[in-house]
Subunit: 158 residues, 2 copies
Amino acid sequence: MAAIGFDPHDHSACISSTLRQAETYCAEHKLKLTPIRRRALEILLAEHRALGAYDLLSHFAAEGLGSAPPVAYRALDFLTSAGFAHKIEGLNAYIACAHLGSDHAPAFLICTACKSVAEAETEASDGRLGAAARAAGFQIDRIVVEALGLCPTCQDAA
Amino acid sequence: MAAIGFDPHDHSACISSTLRQAETYCAEHKLKLTPIRRRALEILLAEHRALGAYDLLSHFAAEGLGSAPPVAYRALDFLTSAGFAHKIEGLNAYIACAHLGSDHAPAFLICTACKSVAEAETEASDGRLGAAARAAGFQIDRIVVEALGLCPTCQDAA
DNA sequence: GTCGTTGATGTTATGATATAACAATGGAGT
DNA sequence: ACTCCATTGTTATATCATAACATCAACGAC
Ligand SMILES: [Zn+2]
Ligand SMILES: [Zn+2]
Ligand SMILES: [Zn+2]
Ligand SMILES: [Zn+2]
């Protein structure tokens, strides 16, 4: 379970392989990766950072695509529903999935200094919280796990 | 580790004992539980639900206290800094701490149907995520854990 | 006691995030 | 060609949060 994001890697390969996986997934599941959706994913993939909906929107505007908020939110809804992107609740921002293909419960390491985000994976039904939920009779749909702190680079800078 | 919130209990005792603990804590730490801060805590304590800042604000307004947003946000900043309340990131809302006194890493069970929230406790440095962070050289300050789903009552209703 | 500092509060204005509602388009199937 | 339905475009508005500055009261220094 590597925490992709803080380590150096071949990023253009990282982008193109994820795009290919997204295309395959859409073909298999009758989903349409339209130009604007594909472009949104590319923009998110360009950095291992979370972007706000309005950040995405300004990319769109600069490229002559739609420039009203719903355009960005709809693309993000599609990407998150399909599992191609995740919302970072603690930042009100969105990031491309770093583990496309594996059916995963994401956990994020979020640097509060430089906003870079690494995606790790949690255990499917992590012990304690799952136990508490069961004891309370609570039925879990989705679990948000976000660790806020400092990435290696920003620790060195401090 | 009880997940306080969904089970019936003596709620007025729950409120008054928490308020007393908050007073004690403030006295020990030279913090000022001013009337508006105390009132904010009372309002949050009245329900085991998360309230938005503007919900709190309308209570204030109805009681002749300040009615501009910063009044609510400042009270909430104080309560969260002191550990008397937590922000629920997934709802952009705030809830009184259900485990005041214990030094804890909160985890929440959030009913998406009725918005009620139970507060459980996680292990201090839970295995997997802590391990991933260590491997990445990431220094964790705070962990957000929020489970979204259905509370027992809303499951029955469905 | 007065003065200056400090933290709390009040207020106006604005910024940032997100959705409602409806019109226009355009392909898939008939 | 026609209909259906998902996607996209656009306007307007709702919701969440902070900046900036004025006022005030508590408290210690002098
Ligand atoms: Zn992922
Ligand atoms: Zn960093
Ligand atoms: Zn708590
Ligand atoms: Zn419920």
